[in-house]
Symmetry: C2
Subunit: 348 residues, 2 copies
């Protein structure tokens, strides 16, 4: 095409930095959208240049989820804020049993942020979206002055479609239901911890960030009557279980010996005084289903590449106080309560 | 209900402040969600306590739009960041000709932000959402350390539904089409300017922030073949017209004498050296439609409470360079180009 918007020169992805004008809505914003976002997320919706996307969805209920991402540092072993922002929202949509289809992406950039880092993050988002089979169809870019942000923050909001017959929701846990996790816990939290400068420790642990909708699809095919699904991200397994217990008005009993924790995660927790039950995960899920169907569900999960280490870790019980309790390896009982404080801020 | 999550005491909305633990995903986060967000946005989706909402949409194409809001200051004459965040995204969805239905809201809070201000903003969002007939069905809250944010940022993402027969899109402007605006320009930009401390000036101008979907519904009922709609927010009328000209591969000729600018906005622009054509609006829209249907569209717009001052301000012309030009009051020709820089950063 012979037309040109008259950019003076291409964006300098080697040494350039974000300036206030990149958030002005004028020519500099248009250039950033053209040369970075449309180039990376390339699809028919973004190319139209509208402030919204028109989507033809397959039949079914629409599922919507949103997450703002403020993880620090932006790059960590096994991932970065871009991959996390895509996978986190894909997973929130998937936890209804739905098929994620489309994402929006809203960027808040700090003046002075290196364009090289921004491109690396956006390209990571594009790879994660392609891997998850979702398109980034709508976007927004704002810029704040130096010292009024922290590099970049990314909001992603996702929509997907849920077929009939699936009713997965936080309030559906019932006494005698089985509690299953899809694999080893604590890797994302430990990986981010290892990436933090002064607190950092040497480790080979990588974040488990990945999209779980394929695993979920295999699970609902095997057992359509799954009661609850949740990805135990911020706050970890303990927080997710307390949320479900509360929403359903039930208690839970866990067996510590059944909960898979990698040795490196256990070691890091001992070193820093953390509890792995509260460490964030970005590629694991919790499922609650009728006890009779737990073996079938477990088989389906273990047959999937992302569920090889799946395990039954406990059961739902009647408890008007909605307590999550755990039988320890030594045979004692421990109350696995909500945390008031925070082990690791800005984990996602 | 006799159950309690065991909050030690209710949130202190008089003197309390955001702490890092409000973003931890633990008990403090749960309390903020219960006592502020669910209380304000009260609806069946949030009460379920899921990480996503399940929505039954009416038939039609689904429209999705996202906006992150970083306006400074947070409160300004005629509105605040909360109302702006709702209306801005409602309007982006409406500019496809769609009916907005649901919003998500993602908050990035700075440690130390007053809970009183947060409640005031959230309640303003709730009022704006109720006025626009949309429900806030999904949310997320993150907290960053003092000095790593600027009070709060809000992302809203909206979905709506578009009935058959409407094809409004940026690339549909054609030579001879009429260009119409729905009212006086520049009020939001001038109101935010007046609210900024050292640069502030005394003024009675208020932001025009409001939801435009009702006006849009009246417009598409009257003229289903509207070619383009856009709300001239960041970058103002000039930027919105350049975007549409570029997307459609056409030029535009404006008549300066027809463009409604309130005297107070003109005065502020003269004082500070701004150009009202680049000032942001948050409650106005631009429409482009076939010339023959312009009188009908104009009548429908003027009959609506939000379109009383609607006016035809120019026409689309053939121009391979996609220039937006204007015949000035003195009869001269002016090139209304994209801005490289920014008159007013953080306007929305």
């Amino acid at each position: 095409m012979a037309r040109t918007k008259g950019y003076i020169r291409p964006l300098d992805f080697a040494g350039g930095r974000i300036e206030m004008t990149h958030g002005s809505g004028g020519k500099a914003t248009a250039q950033l959208i053209d040369e970075l976002f449309i180039a990376a997320f390339d699809n028919e919706w973004l190319r139209k240049g509208n402030d919204q996307a028109q989507l033809a969805l397959p039949p079914g209920r629409v599922v919507m989820a949103t997450d703002s991402h403020v993880v620090s540092p932006l790059f960590f072993p096994g991932g970065d804020i871009g991959a996390l922002a895509v996978n986190g929202t894909v997973n929130d949509v998937a936890m209804a049993g739905a098929r994620p289809l489309y994402l929006s992406a809203g960027f808040i950039l700090e003046e002075g942020f290196p364009l090289a880092d921004l491109r690396r993050i956006v390209e990571s988002m594009a790879r994660a979206a392609a891997a998850a089979g979702v398109a980034v169809v709508a976007g927004d870019t704002k810029v704040v002055e130096r010292g009024k942000g922290d590099g970049l923050f990314i909001n992603t909001t996702g929509i997907g479609v849920l077929r009939d017959g699936i009713e997965i929701s936080a309030e559906r846990a019932r006494p005698t239901d089985a509690i299953i996790v899809s694999g080893a816990l604590g890797e994302h939290g430990a990986a981010v911890l290892s990436a933090r400068g002064p607190l950092g420790f040497e480790s080979t642990i990588e974040s488990d960030t990945c999209a779980l909708h394929g695993l979920v699809a295999a699970m609902v095919d095997a057992v359509p009557d799954i009661h609850c699904l949740r990805d135990p991200t911020r706050g970890g397994l303990a927080t997710a279980l307390n949320e479900l217990a509360w929403a359903s008005g039930v208690g839970m009993n866990l067996m510590e010996a059944s909960i898979p924790i990698p040795p490196e995660v256990s070691a890091a927790c001992e070193l820093f005084g953390f509890d792995p039950l509260y460490l964030a995960n970005e590629g694991k899920l919790l499922a609650i289903c009728p006890k009779a169907q737990a073996p079938v569900l477990l088989d389906a999960m273990r047959a999937h590449p992302l569920g090889g280490q799946s395990a039954i870790i406990g059961e739902v019980v009647a408890d008007p106080l909605c307590f999550v309790q755990m039988t320890t390896r030594l045979g004692g009982q421990r109350h696995v309560d909500w945390r008031r404080g925070d082990q690791l801020p800005r984990i996602c």
